[in-house]
Symmetry: C2
Subunit: 394 residues, 2 copies
Amino acid sequence: MLMRWSCWGSALRAGCRHQEGIVTLQFLVERRDPGSAARTGRISTSHGLVDTPAFLPVGTGGTVKAMTPAELEDLGAGMILANAYHLYLRPGSRLIADLGGLHRFMSWNRPILTDSGGFQVLSLAKLRKVSEEGVLFQSHLDGSDHFISPERSIRIQEELGADIIMAFDECISYPVGFAEARAALERTLRWARRCREARARDDLALFGIVQGGCYPELRERGVRELVGIGFDGYAVGGLSVGETREMRGEVLDAVLPLLPGDRPRYLMGIGTPEDLVEGVIRGADLFDCVMPTRHARTGWLFTSTGRVVIKNTQYASDEDPLDAHCGCYTCRNFSRAYLRHLFVSGEILSARLNTIHNLSYYLGLMRGLRRAIEEGKLEAFRESFYAQREGVCH
Amino acid sequence: MLMRWSCWGSALRAGCRHQEGIVTLQFLVERRDPGSAARTGRISTSHGLVDTPAFLPVGTGGTVKAMTPAELEDLGAGMILANAYHLYLRPGSRLIADLGGLHRFMSWNRPILTDSGGFQVLSLAKLRKVSEEGVLFQSHLDGSDHFISPERSIRIQEELGADIIMAFDECISYPVGFAEARAALERTLRWARRCREARARDDLALFGIVQGGCYPELRERGVRELVGIGFDGYAVGGLSVGETREMRGEVLDAVLPLLPGDRPRYLMGIGTPEDLVEGVIRGADLFDCVMPTRHARTGWLFTSTGRVVIKNTQYASDEDPLDAHCGCYTCRNFSRAYLRHLFVSGEILSARLNTIHNLSYYLGLMRGLRRAIEEGKLEAFRESFYAQREGVCH
């Protein structure tokens, strides 16, 4: 067992509950919010540091859509997410390995996390057939047959060479009955063990994924067993699949307090700005979501006072910047009228400027949350965050 | 008559052949190539200087597709072209005027030239009906009826507020008989006079457009009469409409030597890298073309050794930069394999990186031509330009 690091900071040692398992990821909890489970921290990887809580822009196919790596760095993105499923299908993980790995391929020198493909096999692939061995599916690109097992997912992710890779899990849709959710959880746990054993590169951190649908008791069991196996970090998966906000809150309340305090906690596929604030308060450290980038391309823009649907006629002659409180390139240089014109005209620059702004908003929100925790002002930050939105249609 | 400037530089005074007319544009010829008609010069506008010969990236709808203004500046673009036709239809030239003009609207603080709409009415509009008064047409966007006359075109362009505006001309397709070409030329000349008289803002320079199809005698008559009216600069229009390269060369040989030497000469809609080299040698000062930007989006890339069609399988695992002799952001950071992956995946970043490179190539070519003229090495530059391409499929 390689123990590169266990617990940093004497004040935090008491909280350590390290389990058996590989620990290759350095994670230091720096400050805890006295009034909630929120904390700031720092993940250290061979591609640099990530300040947490952090939002990971989604770079599915080896590019955060519409953005250059330089722009992402300028916005302060610490880590991005890429999808093993997409990159395995196109251009191929073996090819990327031959070209020096994903960082070099996409010219991104900061940390990368890859998702294992479990969720994409559910949401994108055709004719999915799950067996104990793995998942047989047809590519959403060309219908070709593929098989991904836990071992294969780990190999694909090791070929890509991200700093953090994810266990291959069985995702289920919502709603689903208890028996089915339990069966999927149990398979996910067996697969988690196989991922753990299949791991060949000890320089990449491996995170386990808690499943269990919207059944708190299954979720709790998932946490216990995953922690028993031992991972570098723990993710909550199977959310944002159609459940209500209340159900999601229940799941998070059940899961997050049980996760080891000295390991990063990652809420997969979450979420809205409100979700980020609430997730941070519950103690989550990492988030990813397509929302800021995808919404940017459909003209749905996040601002400090609520959303702006830029195609609306009301902006046709609006000289104001998108968000007067935002200092991004878009808001410094362009009016809402111009952004609307670009959107209505289907210009590529529309997707670009909107994405810059939305990511700037999300990354700025995370900076604000980190600062609030450091300064012991998280509750005030939260109140101000909601007050700015009051009376605004979300 | 406002004569803000006539001829700079004592050495060049002898060559001045100023005609009657408004002259609001400062243009200084700096160096002449001893072996050809090529020259370097400098156009001075209220939005800054443009070194000539210059290539104008095309920003049809108020954006050079896929590029930010900051990126265009970084690439050294001195002036861009926008289309009165497109901006009149969407978002409306009156709206842009109300928002402070086109420079402010698109956040581009360097010079802009607007085309008058004559060519677009030919190439894009539906059900075009030309009368002596002007052109009745249906919008290519929504089929709505519109009428543009010479006076209306000037008003639209003055609302946009470009630094250089163009006379409204009657464009004809190719091939066309002599009588029809003559009739269109004569109308274009009558419209040129009307444009000249309709001009209300003397801070914008007005260029005349030489028509006459592929009939040198008509072209010569066009030049004579336009120069008689008097414009700040002269453009050769009606090319790149289907004529052969040889015919185009004949037209340029007939027209360019007749244009006043102290006024900018603008080849509209031209062209390939070879066209730029040959146009400069014939004495042209300004060029615009959608080729570098449009080809970028279809994966046709210009390099120092010829074209690269990036989707080709041969580049799938090619680790080299697109052009080893290019220092643009794309070539500094990405492999051909990555560019191919982005293109095949339909990623927005593909259009971006390709456009950055193609514009960098075009603008770099113009810089090379200017330097070669300044150093008296234009013939050697031309030989080297073609030698690099030898054996390469264009």
